[in-house]
Structures are given as structure tokens and as C-alpha cells.
Subunit: 373 residues, 2 copies
């Protein structure tokens, strides 16, 4: 029987699962928030993912439920699991991606290296953390953040007053401001039956809190760091019982330690390079993992791969119009578009390039991406 | 504006255009012969491609019409073109893929190397050709042949009597039986505006008239033969005004000449290796070409690529069930399935593998394909 995967959320991550689903012979269905979203070709239902009845009806005709995002409420997920629906990643794992304080506590239990952190409930507690950490720190809302939202660097405890008000009766997260040399990302695929496949660790470059460029494998990284990153990734995947793709964002410190920054339990922007640069793309691997099928090889297909995001420009800009110019100029570049209306700063596509050196891959990807700037 | 491509025919070639269409942001619509065919995810209409009204209605809302097969009648195609519809390849080019006698005459005009041939209208004419060519020859119906059907080796002119009857008042094609060392295939993409991109020539192995294995690039082939093959391909693409993908099946003779066997004006089984083995797959390239977008690089992504077809076995065999075993055994193999019911001898999928040597690529692909035998 053809396997059916139901994806909750109609964004570009769901869209990019369509291609490998077609090639593998997996039937993909999408519960979209609105009609005509990025994953519209596989749209089979439209509705609110916070509504149990909507999600339950969607889940009825698929073999496994998975996600384009991590925002489906715990009570909805747990109800599905209680009814015997296969949900991957499951609610227990997803709680660690949904709440950063819960995540920090669990990583501490596992002994995973991470920045100093605390859950603080008041301006005084935050000030105490600041005083202990050189007067500056990163404050994060435990829930609801993405792409730099819900994250703020503060030098004065009063700068988080609005979040203390918004999360009254709870704690917010404060973390040391890590003196990092660069940011890395480690992806791991894990099946319900336990098989794991770590991808090579990559370097990510953020601009304004949004992933801008990825270099794979991470240039100039030592063998030991590659192993440590993979160990951190597999330890978290197993320790949190993650199923599907896990992305671990890491700081590489000036003194060569790796500290966990954020987690994502789904295909991730830091893994878009795998579409053209790895034997098994993260989107194919996610489908294999959530269906509990044997995982594919995560090996790179070139010495160097570069991914560059395309962000929307001024209103009215149509990226399709610029596509032809980019194609003509860079016939080696692979441009992926998300079928989304362009808005300033919105991720609307990305470019991958493979080459013998990272300089050459970056040149090709940047030259193509420049047509969309 | 998002470009819309309409594909006539719902088979696996249409199916395999879906993945690159999604990634490029091209909207793909399929006119399928029956509901639920291989390309069902993009099915937007079901009907008879021989019926002008059906095809006209389908063509109304797309920017270009292209094909999963070459069987749409000339009168339907010409009516569309007369009404201003962009049709690629166009009817003038397609006639050479639809009628092998018309093709042989045109290639002779172009001076392209091909086997000795003749159009024969009677047993006596066929016998004369046999007498001139050592007593054996290949007889072909001018139209309606595929995968070895409509092709017959004869040693006696009486063996073609049924075809003389079926094509009464016309001629059938007879060709010399070429003493070939192996079969090759040359693909070329060509845009309406004239840009062309030849792919590296590959070796194809046929079993029972059906493509079984492809090795890319053709192992051990000399530089001069690579150039000659590309020249033959581009000469035919330009001379026949082909738009989209052209495949030229070639005989490599014992004395190292290349002779044209057959033509196909669409993505072709000999190019399935490009999905995982070339910078630009033939399916992406076909979409680019028919939309008159700049063509992508046809360069291989590995030293060696092997493609092996998966044919259906006994009724009731479900290839999805065997997929997991193949995946577990060969994590480097890329298995593509067509979502078709399995019937003995029917193409239901293929496996691609890339490696540093053709021996290694063939080992991986064969090992994975063996699970489906």
C-alpha cells in the first residue's frame, strides 16, 4: 500500500516535501492554514491546526501526521496520540521545541553543553543574572519566537518589562551572551525505531536574526568538532525522543567549545543545502523517518555546498520575473522558490550551489541570489 | 506571474516533471487519459487527447502545452498552434517522432549518419532490400511503435505481410541490421529561441526491446565520439526545430561509427539518470526549454552514474513493500517509483546511483533494484 503522510501547515517546508514524496511514491496531504499557500499542490484540507476536530478529521486518512511548524498545541497532539494516531515528532518531544525553558532544563539534565541560562520571573532576578554575566544578556520568550522574534539583547533589566507582563505568573528565559566565533548547525534524522543519521555539521550566517547563508560542510572545521557536533545532535535526538529531522543550532565559541543555541524538530533552513548537495535531502529524510522507513545516506554530493536565502523585496516585486536572469547568468545554480507573495524580509526562496571549493560554491550562489536582491 | 505548463498525458514522464516544477515555482497541470494516473498529483483534467475540444479547453489556462508522449494527432496540434497556443515541441517537429519514414527522409536530407533504409510497399520490395543486405533486416511500422513494439527482425519478406496489410496503400520502413557494439543515447535540450544544451552521451542496455540499464557518461568512450554524438544531437534538434528535450538513440558500430536509431521529443528513459546525476535533470530542463527559460547546466554531478529500470513482476506484487528492504540495504541508492499498478514487464520505477566508478554505481543500483525483481 502506498504510504500517506499528512503534514500540518502549508508553508515552504511542507512544499519542499512534495518533490521527494512524488519520487518515493509517498502520498502527501497538507492541512493548510489558508487556501493556496506555499504547499498548495498537496493541499487536501484547510483549517485551524489549533482545533482538535479539524486536525482529527485530517489525520483520519493518513498513516502518519507530521509538521511544517511546531505550533500545534500539546492538547491537540496528545488527543491524537491517545486515539492511536502516529504523530512524529510526538508531543513529548515537541514540548522541548515549543518551550525554550523546558528545553534548557532538559538539556541540562542530559549534560549537553549550553550557555549559562536561568528562568527569571522578575526584573530583580533578571538584574541579578545581568550582574553575574558582565551586564549584558539575551532574553527570550519561552514560547512563540521564530526568526529572531522573541529574542532580545538587554543591558538593563527594565528592557524586558513588557515580556514579564506578557508572561506574568511564568518565567522568561535569560541566557549569557556567548562570545562566539561563528554559528553552526547540526542535523540528525531519527526513526521511531531508533535508527539515527547525523548530517555533516554546517556553518550558518544570520542577518537580522534570520538565516542568510549556509556553508556545508562547515569550512575549516576540525575532525574532533565534527564528531562532537554529531554526538550532541544524536544525544539530543535520542534523549528527547525526537522522530523526523532535528536541527541543533550551535555556537562555536572563541575557545572552540560548541554550545546549543536553539532546537527545531522539522526540516530546517540550515538543511536546505541537502536538496542539491546531499545524497538524501532533509525533506526526503524527514519523510523516511516519520514513516519509520530506513534512512538514506546523509553524505554530501560535492566537496562544498552553499545555500543563500532569497528574501522578499519591495511590494510588487515578482521573483519569477528575476528568475530567468539568474538562470541565464548562473546555469549551475539551483534556485528554489516558495510560491509566496513577496514582502520585505520574507523568505521567498533560496539558491543552492555545489562546487569543488566553498569559495566557488559561494560565488555561484551569491551571483544567482543577487538577481533577487 | 507564475508560469503555467500544461502536460498532455498522465504517465511517469509527466509525474517526474512535478518535482522540478514545484522547486522552480512553475505551476504544472496535467491532462490525463484516466483519473488517478501516475501524474495524479498534478491532474487538472481527464479526457481524450485526440479530441480537439478537450485539448483546447485544457490549453486555455496554461502558458505552454507540452507532452508526456508523442501521440497527440497532428490535426489537434495544428489547430492549437493556429489559435495562438504555444505548443512545444510543435507539430512540425513532432511529425518526425510520430512517423519513422518521415524521420528517415528528413535525416537523410540533413546528412545525418543512419543505417541503410527504405520505404517498402510490397513483399517484392522488401525482398529486394533483404537480398541487398545479407538476407536479414529490421522492419518497422512507420507509426505506433514503442518499447520494441512495431519492430521486427525478418529473414523472409513474407514475415511482414501482416504489416503490409495493416499499412495498405502506404510504405513500411525497412532498415539494415546494424552490427553494433553497443547502443548509446544523446540528449539535447533546445529552447524556441534556439539555445541548445547537449548532455553527455550515455550507454543504454536494452532487454526485450525495453531500456534496462543506462551508464552515464558512456564508459570508455573516446573524446571524438562524445563530440560526434553531441554534434548529431544538436544538428537534429536544430534541423527538426525541436523544442524541449530531444533523445537520439544511437548505434555505436564495430567500426566506431555512430548511426541514428530512433528519436524521442520528450524526456526519455535514457535520461532518468540526470535526476540524481546531473546539475539539471532532464525534467527540469524540459520545463525550462518549453517555457523558453535559460537552460541549466547538463554537467554530471559524479564521475559515474547508473540507472536501472524496475519492471513489474507477477500480479499482486506491491513495489512499496519492497522499497523498505532496498532502502535499508542501499542507503546511497535513489529509488524513484511511478505510482503505477505492477504488471509483468511494465515500467514501474527506476533506481539511480552515483559513484566514483561505473562499477561501483552499477553495483549500488543493481543491488537496490534486485529487491524489486
Amino acid at each position: 500500500m502506498t504510504k500517506r503522510v499528512g503534514v500540518i501547515g502549508g508553508g515552504q517546508l511542507a512544499r519542499m516535501m512534495i518533490a521527494p514524496a512524488v519520487e518515493m511514491g509517498v502520498e502527501i496531504r497538507v492541512l493548510a492554514e489558508q487556501p493556496g499557500m506555499s504547499a498548495r499542490l498537496a493541499e487536501s484540507a484547510v483549517g485551524d491546526y489549533r482545533d482538535l476536530e479539524t486536525v482529527r478529521a485530517f489525520a483520519r486518512d493518513v498513516d502518519v501526521v507530521t509538521f511544517d511548524h511546531e505550533h500545534v498545541p500539546q492538547e491537540v497532539l496528545r488527543a491524537l496520540v491517545d486515539e492511536g494516531v502516529a504523530v512524529h515528532p510526538g508531543p513529548h518531544a515537541l514540548q522541548f521545541a515549543q518551550d525554550k525553558l523546558v528545553m534548557r532544563r532538559r538539556l541540562a539534565e542530559l549534560g549537553v553543553p549550553q550557555p549559562d541560562w536561568a528562568g527569571v520571573a522578575s526584573r530583580a532576578e533578571l538584574q541579578a543574572f545581568l550582574d553575574d554575566h558582565g551586564g549584558r544578556a539575551v532574553v527570550k520568550t519561552p514560547r512563540g519566537g521564530y526568526d529572531g522574534k522573541g529574542v532580545r539583547v538587554v543591558a538593563d533589566a527594565a528592557e524586558a518589562d513588557d515580556w514579564f507582563a506578557a508572561f506574568a505568573g511564568e518565567r522568561i528565559l535569560v541566557e549569557e551572551l556567548v562570545d562566539f566565533r561563528r554559528e553552526l548547525a547540526q542535523q540528525v534524522a531519527r526513526r521511531p525505531s531508533g535508527e539515527m543519521r547525523p548530517y555533516p555539521v554546517v556553518e550558518t550566517v544570520q542577518k537580522d536574526g534570520v538565516c542568510a547563508e549556509v556553508f556545508a560542510p562547515a569550512p575549516g572545521i576540525g575532525e574532533r568538532a565534527v564528531e562532537v557536533a554529531a554526538e550532541i545532535g544524536t544525544q539530543i535526538a535520542a534523549g528527547l525522543n525526537v522522530t523526523g529531522m532535528l536541527a541543533v543550532e550551535l555556537f562555536e565559541t572563541a575557545d572552540e567549545r560548541l554550545l546549543v543555541n536553539e532546537l527545531a524538530m522539522r526540516p530546517h533552513n540550515s538543511g536546505h543545502w541537502t536538496q542539491d548537495g546531499a545524497v538524501t535531502s532533509q525533506f526526503e529524510q524527514h519523510l523516511r523517518a516519520v514513516l519509520d522507513l530506513p534512512l538514506g545516506s546523509p553524505d554530501p554530493r560535492a566537496d562544498a555546498v552553499c545555500m543563500i536565502n532569497i528574501l522578499g523585496g519591495p511590494a510588487g516585486q515578482d521573483i519569477d520575473e528575476r528568475f530567468a536572469d539568474a538562470m541565464a547568468d548562473q546555469p549551475e545554480a539551483k534556485v528554489h522558490t516558495y510560491g509566496k507573495a513577496s514582502r520585505p524580509g520574507r523568505k521567498v526562496g533560496h539558491v543552492n550551489a555545489t562546487a569543488d571549493s566553498i569559495e566557488e560554491a559561494a560565488y555561484i550562489a551569491r551571483a544567482a541570489a543577487a538577481f533577487f536582491a
